[in-house]
């Protein structure tokens, strides 16, 4: 492990979209530096450019300025370097769950049989046993997310980008999926960049939380989460946790005491 170069570095990346009415400054220069094996979250109001950052890191969008470095090497505008789970699960309805999860390997020319042999034990271990040969439309929301996440993992890159993977799930499924993701992360020691709009989720999962602001999108604060791992559900009620949560909510202008209209009127 190298301590000199972070695993993933987003250096002064900015983005201006050309629109029919002119140009839209979506991202002010954003800088992120993520060491190997960390779990880092981005939170921020919708439209602040979280998905845009991800698209730039994944090489799907050329930034207007700045560079993306992976292992210290310039990876700006190159695809296939990171695993990227988009906001939708995008499972292909004509492929079985198993064949959906091996899509990345297939594209990288891993022979079909070898790819399936690698994927099957993971599907079994991570809660998709019995679903391998079903088609995605037979799966619940949680199961679909699992399949999409395993597809991202099986692509076998060191860095993984997860864009609101649990955004559409009900509260209970979401909690279950968080535990599941923690298990996966500690088993695979990947570097994870995670987008969510759920502050508690971000803190519970992460080593560091970056809070973003809008107009233009930028990082307004980076808050380390020094809570011990493995974390348990109860830690979301610990004073340390609550302090961090309050700080985040404040930064997002969601502080419950500040937004109370009764208080403001008084």
């Amino acid at each position: 492990m190298s301590f000199s170069a972070p695993k993933l570095c987003v250096a002064d990346v900015s983005m201006t979209f050309r629109t029919p009415t002119g140009s839209f400054h979506a991202l002010a220069p954003v800088t992120l530096s993520i060491p190997q094996g960390r779990f880092v979250s981005l939170i921020g109001p919708s439209g602040c450019g979280k998905s845009t950052i991800f698209n730039i890191i994944a090489g799907l969008l050329e930034p207007s300025g700045g560079r993306v470095l992976i292992d210290g090497v310039d990876a700006t505008g190159t695809i296939g370097r990171v695993g990227y789970m988009l906001q939708k699960d995008l499972l292909l309805p004509w492929r079985t769950v198993l064949d959906n999860t091996i899509l990345g390997m297939e594209i990288q020319h891993v022979p079909l049989r070898a790819a399936r042999e690698r994927a099957l034990p993971l599907l079994h271990r991570y809660g998709l046993a019995g679903f391998e040969y079903l088609y995605p439309n037979a799966l619940s929301g949680g199961m679909r997310q699992r399949a999409a996440l395993l597809r991202t993992l099986l692509f076998d890159t060191d860095v993984i980008l997860l864009d609101e993977p649990f955004g559409a799930l009900d509260a209970q499924t979401k909690l279950k999926m968080q535990e599941w993701l923690m298990q996966l992360w500690s088993d695979f020691s990947k570097t994870v960049l995670f987008v969510t709009h759920d502050v508690e989720e971000a803190i519970y999962l992460s080593d560091e939380v970056h809070v973003m602001g809008t107009r233009p999108g930028r990082i307004i604060a980076s808050i380390p989460v020094p809570l011990a791992r493995p974390r348990v559900r109860g830690s979301t009620l610990s004073p340390d946790f609550l302090v961090i949560k309050e700080r985040c909510l404040e930064l997002l202008h969601l502080d419950p005491t500040a937004s109370e209209p009764v208080n403001e009127a008084a």
């Binding site: 698209n55 994944a58 090489g59 995008l90 292909l92 004509w94 594209i107 990288q108």
Partner: protein, 289 residues
């Protein structure tokens, strides 16, 4: 009697004030869900056969009593005789084979070429933008109006009939496959590229399987169009085919032969339609697996 059925005087008075004309017989109209009783299948089939036999008998009797003009309408017995002759000493098999081949070749060429053309629009937005107006023009032209020209160019043989059938099916397949391409989710493409896919990989593993249901959905329409094209081609100029037989028989007032050829043609159409429906459902299952 329950308490609810005997309201107090006060309640009654209130009710009457609110509704000057109280509904006298409210519970009288008990309605049930209308239920249709299904006949057994044999009864349905018997009814269908009965209608057919009845109609044919009326036709035959009408023709024999002079109530129906047999010169213009022919009659079932004469049609049956002509059918026998058509299949024993006549050109039945030559004609069927000719029409069948024109239809199938036109169907296959038009559907394949059209689908490929529609899919090809995925490769380049510029190319699609340039070619699209031409495809739309082609669609708006009534292709059958061009049939005489096609016959002139391709001669009176099989090739010209195939060409007319192709012209009819090609545009439908092109536009349908292109509709599939346009419905493709940009995020799915993003997913593929994020996994480091090449354009060819995206085309083979995403675009084609995604558009197949579209392509398959026009097969049944296209077989009908191809048959229409083949018949119209034969009407214009041909030496063989069921269409040519219908035209020839009509011109020589051989009305029984017209009926025979139409019957054979309908049977051919039904057989091909059934075969394509089977193909469609098989392909659909294949696509999902």
């Amino acid at each position: 009697m329950s308490v609810q059925d005997t309201p107090t005087v006060g309640a009654m008075a209130r009710l009457e004030r609110a509704q000057p004309k109280p509904e006298a017989a409210r519970p009288a109209a008990v309605r049930r869900l209308p239920v249709q009783k299904d006949w057994p299948t044999w009864a349905l089939i018997a009814a269908q056969i009965g209608i057919l036999v009845g109609a044919l008998s009326l036709w035959e009797i009408g023709a024999r009593t002079g109530w129906i003009d047999a010169f213009f309408w022919s009659q079932p017995s004469a049609i049956a005789d002509t059918m026998k002759i058509f299949f024993t000493t006549g050109d039945a098999w030559t004609d069927i084979s000719f029409t069948f081949r024109s239809t199938i070749f036109g169907f296959l060429i038009g559907t394949t070429a059209g689908s490929l053309l529609g899919l090809s629009f995925w490769w380049s937005r510029n190319y699609a933008a340039i070619v699209q107006p031409y495809v739309i023009c082609l669609e708006s032209i009534p292709k059958l109006a061009l049939a005489p020209l096609i016959i002139l160019v391709f001669g009176i043989g099989l090739v010209s009939k195939v060409a007319v059938a192709t012209a009819l099916t090609l545009v439908v397949s092109t536009l349908t496959a292109y509709a599939g391409v346009k419905a493709l989710d940009a995020d799915s493409e993003k997913l593929f590229y994020s996994l480091g896919a090449t354009r060819l990989q995206v085309f083979r593993k995403l675009v084609i399987p995604f558009c197949l249901p579209w392509i398959i959905s026009v097969l049944r329409v296209n077989i009908g169009l191809a048959l229409t094209g083949a018949i119209v081609g034969e009407f214009i100029a041909s030496q063989h085919g069921l269409g040519r037989t219908i035209l020839y028989a009509g011109q020589t007032y051989d009305i029984a032969l017209v009926w025979v050829a139409v019957l054979v043609l309908s049977t051919l159409a039904m057989v091909m339609y059934a075969a394509v429906s089977w193909l469609e459902s098989t392909l659909r299952k294949g696509v999902r697996q």
